[in-house]
C-alpha cells in the first residue's frame, strides 16, 4: 500500500486521505452552491417583479464580451480537465502546460470582465458610485434598474472573486508542477483545484443567460 506523496498524521493510509480530501471539496462546493443561491434567490424575485426594466437594463450590457467570456471560461475548464488527465497518466510536462493555459484563459476572462466593468462605469451604471440609468428616466425606473445593476455587480463580482482565488491556487499548482510533484499516485491537489475551477465555470454558465440574455429579441 506504500505510495509516494505525503501522508498526514491523522490518516491511516493514502486512500483514506485522498478520499477525505475529495469528499471535503465536494461538501465545500455544496456550501458554495447555497452561497450563490442566496443571490440567485434575490435575483429571481426582483426579476419577476420588474421584468421589463430588467430586460431593458440587461440590454445595456455587452453581449459580445459576455459571449466571448463564456467561451474563454469553458475553454479554461477544458484545459483544467486536461491537466487532471495529464497528472493521472503521468505526463508531468503536460500538467504544467495545461495549468498555465488555464491560468492564461482565466486571466483573459478577468481582463474582459474588467473592460465590461469599465464600460459600465463610463455609462454611469455603477450603483453606489455614480448611478444614473438613462437621462430622463423617472425615479422608479432608475431605482429598479439600479436593482438590476446591483445584482449584476454583486453576482459577477463574487464570481470574479472566486476566479481570483482560483488563479492564486493555479499559480501554486504550477509551481508545484514544475517540481514534478504530481504523479498518477498523487494528483489530489490538481483534482481538487479542478473541481473548484469547474464549479466556478458552472456558476458562470448560469450567470451568462440570466444577466446578459434577458430580453435580446
Amino acid at each position: 500500500m506504500h505510495r509516494t506523496g505525503e501522508l498526514y498524521g491523522q490518516f491511516e493510509n493514502l486512500d483514506q486521505q485522498r478520499e477525505s480530501a475529495s469528499l471535503g471539496m465536494w461538501v465545500f462546493l455544496v456550501t458554495e452552491v447555497l452561497f450563490f443561491g442566496g443571490m440567485f434567490m434575490t435575483y429571481t424575485l426582483n426579476r419577476s417583479t420588474y421584468p421589463e426594466i430588467f430586460g431593458e437594463a440587461s440590454r445595456s450590457i455587452n453581449l459580445t464580451l459576455g459571449a466571448i467570456n463564456t467561451v474563454v471560461l469553458i475553454g479554461s475548464s477544458l484545459t483544467m480537465a486536461m491537466s487532471v488527465w495529464a497528472a493521472q497518466v503521468g505526463k508531468k510536462q503536460l500538467v504544467s502546460i495545461f495549468l498555465i493555459l488555464t491560468l492564461v484563459l482565466g486571466s483573459v476572462f478577468l481582463g474582459i470582465k474588467g473592460v465590461e466593468y469599465h464600460e459600465k462605469f463610463v455609462e454611469h451604471h455603477v450603483p453606489g458610485l455614480n448611478f444614473n440609468f438613462e437621462p430622463g428616466a423617472d425615479a422608479a425606473t432608475n431605482s429598479h434598474a439600479q436593482l438590476f445593476f446591483s445584482l449584476y455587480f454583486a453576482m459577477t463580482g463574487l464570481h470574479a472573486l472566486h476566479m481570483i482565488i482560483g488563479a492564486g491556487l493555479l499559480i501554486w499548482l504550477i509551481r508545484e508542477s514544475f517540481k514534478g510533484r504530481f504523479t498518477p499516485e498523487y494528483s489530489t491537489p490538481v483534482d481538487l483545484v479542478g473541481l473548484y475551477w469547474h464549479f466556478v465555470d458552472i456558476v458562470w454558465i448560469f450567470l451568462f443567460p440570466l444577466l446578459y440574455l434577458i430580453d435580446r429579441h
Binding site: Y8, G9, Q10, F11, E12, Q16, E19, S20, L23, G24, V27, F28, V30, T31, E32, L34, F35, F36, G37, G38, M39, M41, T42, L45, N46, T49, Y50, P127, G128, L129, A140, S143, H144, Q146, L147, S150, L151, A154
Partner: protein, 565 residues
C-alpha cells in the same frame, strides 16, 4: 483493542488512580504550542475558553436587561441602551455562544475519540475555524464597543440597512466571517464521520452523539452560506445605499426575512440537536442499559435536520405572506415536532428497568427532559396559525425559545461538560457542589422564564424597554429567577476551574460508560489511542462488556445488530 499501557493506574475501579504520564495537555508546552496546535482536543479547549467569554458577555447583558425590567418605566438605562442590550445579548449568545458551544467544544473534542480516529480529517482547517471565529468575534466586539448594535439579532431590513444609527456594518461583517467558521467545522465533521471511523465502527454502532453532530453539520453546510450572503447583501445595502431589501428603492424587506430564516430556523436545530446527542449519551450511561430505540433516535436527528429546512416561514405568518404558504409552513412545522417527541419518549423508556444513579450529569439529563419538554410543547402553540396571531412577537415567544436554547441547549452543554470533564481534564469535579448547581439552575431557570409564558399570553410585546404596569408582577418574578440562574452559572465556572488542579483523579472510565472515548486514558494521548482501536461491541451495551468491572451475569447473550428489534 487498545492495550492499557498508558491508561494511568489500575484498569478496574479499585481507586487510587494516577494521571497518565503522557497526555495531550502535557505533550508540549508554551503559548505557541496552543495557538498553533492542530490537536482537536486542544482546539476544543481554545473554543471552550472563547465561548465562555462570549457567554459571560451575553450573560452580563441579560442581567442588565432583567434589572431594567423590574419596574414598568425602567430607570436603569435609556431606551437606546436597552435596545442595544437585547440586541447584543442575542448576537453574542446565538452566533458566538450557542451555535459553536456543543459542536465546537464537545464535538471537536469527542468525535475523533468516539469513532476511533487520531484527529479530525482536516486538523489545520479545524484550527483555521477557530481563528475565523476569533476574527468574526473581534468585528462584533468592535461593533459593541463603538456605538453598539440596536437592530435586534434578526437584523430586519429596512431598520438595519437604512434606519439604524448603530454600528451595524462591523457586526454584520463579523457574523458573515463567523459563518465560515461554522461551515468549516461542519465540513470537517462530515468528512471525518464518513472516512475516519475505526475498523468495526459501522454507522449503526456510532454513538448517538455522533449522529446528532452529523445532522448538525448538514445544517451547518447547507444553511450557513445563505445567512452569510444575506447579511453581506444587507451590509452592502447599508454601505452603498443599494436597494435589495429596501422598499423605497424597489426591494422587498420580506425577502430578507425569507433568506434570514432559511438559515436561522434550522440554526435552532444546530443548537438543540447536539444537546440531544449529549443527553442520548448521558441517559444510557447512568441508567446502565442500552438506549431504547437506537435507530429511531438516530433517524430522528436526521429527520429534524432535513424537515427543519422546510418550516422557516412560520416566523413570518403575520408579515402578509400568502395564506397558502402559511398553511403549508404551519403543517410542515407540526411534522418537525414528531421526531422530537420520538426522542423524548425513547429517553423516558430507557429509564425503565435501568440501574439509575443520581450523579450530576444524570440530573442535567433529567432537567433537560423536563425543560425541553416544555420548550418543545410550547412550540406547538406557535406553529398553530390561529394562536400565532395572538402570540407572535410576545414574551411567549421569548419564553419558548429560552426553554429550548437555555433549558435545552445550555443544560445539555453544561451536563455534557460535567459528563466528559474527567475525560477532558483527567479529574473529577466536587459532586456535592455540582448537584447543588444543577438544582439551582433548574429552579432559577423555571422561575425566570415560566412567568414569561403568561406575560406573553397577556400580550406583552417583546423588545420593550417599558411596559404597562399591569405586567409588573410577572416581570419581578422573572428578574428574581434570573438572579438565581446567574448564581447557578457562576458555581460551575468556579468549581470546574478549581477541579482542573485540585479535583480527584478520575481514571480512564469513572462512570463507567461504554463509548470508545472511555477506552483511552484521561486525559487522552495526543494521538488519542496507542493503536487504532477495533470495535466489536454494540453501542450502550453493558450486558456483554466484561471490561467495565460491573456485575455482568453469566455468559454473553446475543445482542441484536442495530440495538433494537
Amino acid at each position: 483493542m487498545s492495550t492499557p499501557n498508558n491508561l494511568g493506574g489500575p484498569p478496574s475501579n479499585s481507586g487510587g488512580y494516577q494521571l497518565p504520564r503522557d497526555h495531550y495537555l502535557n505533550s508540549t508546552y508554551g503559548i505557541r504550542s496552543w495557538l498553533l496546535t492542530t490537536d482537536h482536543k486542544r482546539i476544543a479547549l481554545l473554543y471552550l475558553i472563547s465561548v465562555t467569554f462570549f457567554f459571560f458577555i451575553g450573560g452580563t447583558f441579560a442581567s442588565l436587561i432583567r434589572i431594567h425590567l423590574l419596574t414598568p418605566n425602567g430607570y436603569l438605562v435609556t431606551p437606546e441602551t436597552y435596545n442595544k442590550l437585547f440586541t447584543m445579548h442575542g448576537v453574542a449568545m446565538i452566533f458566538f455562544f450557542l451555535i459553536p458551544s456543543i459542536p465546537a467544544v464537545l464535538g471537536n473534542f469527542l468525535i475523533p475519540l468516539m469513532i476511533g480516529a487520531k484527529d479530525l480529517a482536516f486538523p489545520k482547517i479545524n484550527l483555521l475555524s477557530w481563528y475565523i471565529y476569533l476574527v468574526g468575534g473581534c468585528f462584533v466586539l468592535y461593533s459593541f464597543a463603538t456605538g453598539g448594535l440596536d437592530t435586534g439579532w434578526t437584523f430586519y431590513t429596512p431598520l438595519s440597512s437604512v434606519y439604524s444609527n448603530s454600528a451595524v456594518t462591523p457586526a454584520v461583517l463579523g457574523i458573515f466571517i463567523n459563518g465560515f467558521s461554522s461551515i468549516l467545522t461542519g465540513l470537517n465533521f462530515i468528512v471525518t464521520i464518513h472516512t475516519m471511523r475505526a475498523p468495526g465502527m459501522t454507522w449503526f454502532r456510532l454513538p448517538l452523539f455522533v449522529w446528532a453532530h452529523y445532522a448538525t453539520s448538514v445544517i451547518f453546510i447547507l444553511g450557513t452560506p445563505v445567512i452569510a450572503i444575506t447579511l453581506l447583501l444587507a451590509g452592502l445595502e447599508r454601505m452603498l445605499h443599494l436597494g435589495f431589501f429596501n422598499p423605497v428603492l424597489g426591494g422587498d424587506p420580506i425577502l430578507f426575512q425569507h433568506l434570514f430564516w432559511f438559515y436561522s430556523h434550522p440554526a435552532v436545530y444546530i443548537m438543540i440537536l447536539p444537546a440531544m446527542g449529549v443527553i442520548s449519551e448521558i441517559i444510557p450511561t447512568f441508567a446502565r442499559k442500552p438506549i431504547f430505540g437506537y435507530s429511531f433516535i438516530a433517524g430522528s436527528s436526521i429527520a429534524i435536520a432535513v424537515i427543519g429546512f422546510f418550516v422557516w416561514a412560520h416566523h413570518m405568518f403575520l408579515t402578509g405572506e400568502s395564506a397558502y404558504a402559511a398553511l403549508t409552513f404551519s403543517f410542515l412545522s407540526y411534522l418537525v415536532a414528531i421526531p422530537s417527541a420520538v426522542k423524548t419518549f425513547n429517553w423516558t423508556s430507557t429509564l425503565y428497568k435501568g440501574s439509575i444513579s443520581w450523579e450530576t450529569p444524570m440530573l442535567y439529563g433529567l432537567g433537560f427532559i423536563g425543560l425541553f419538554l416544555i420548550g418543545g410543547l410550547t412550540g406547538l402553540f406557535l406553529a398553530c396559525l390561529g394562536l400565532d396571531i395572538h402570540l407572535h412577537d410576545t414574551y411567549f415567544v421569548i419564553a419558548h425559545f429560552h426553554y429550548i436554547m437555555v433549558g435545552g441547549a445550555v443544560m445539555g452543554y453544561v451536563g455534557g461538560l460535567h459528563f466528559w470533564w474527567p475525560k477532558i481534564t483527567g479529574r473529577l469535579y466536587p459532586e456535592g457542589l455540582a448537584k447543588t448547581a444543577a438544582v439551582t439552575l433548574f429552579i432559577g431557570f423555571n422561575l425566570t422564564f415560566f412567568p414569561q409564558f403568561i406575560l406573553g399570553y397577556l400580550g406583552m410585546p417583546r423588545r420593550y424597554h417599558s411596559y404597562p404596569p399591569e405586567f409588573q408582577v410577572f416581570n419581578v418574578m422573572s428578574t428574581a429567577g434570573a438572579s438565581i440562574l446567574a448564581l447557578g452559572y457562576l458555581l460551575p465556572m468556579i468549581y470546574l476551574t478549581w477541579s482542573m488542579r485540585y479535583g480527584k483523579i478520575a481514571g480512564p472510565n469513572p462512570w463507567p460508560a461504554t463509548g470508545l472515548e472511555w477506552k483511552t486514558a484521561s486525559p487522552p494521548l495526543t494521538e488519542n489511542f496507542d493503536v487504532t482501536p477495533e470495535v466489536n461491541w454494540e453501542p450502550y451495551d453493558f450486558d456483554n462488556r466484561h471490561d467495565l468491572g460491573l456485575d455482568v451475569k453469566g455468559a454473553p447473550s446475543l445482542a441484536p445488530a442495530h440495538g433494537d428489534d
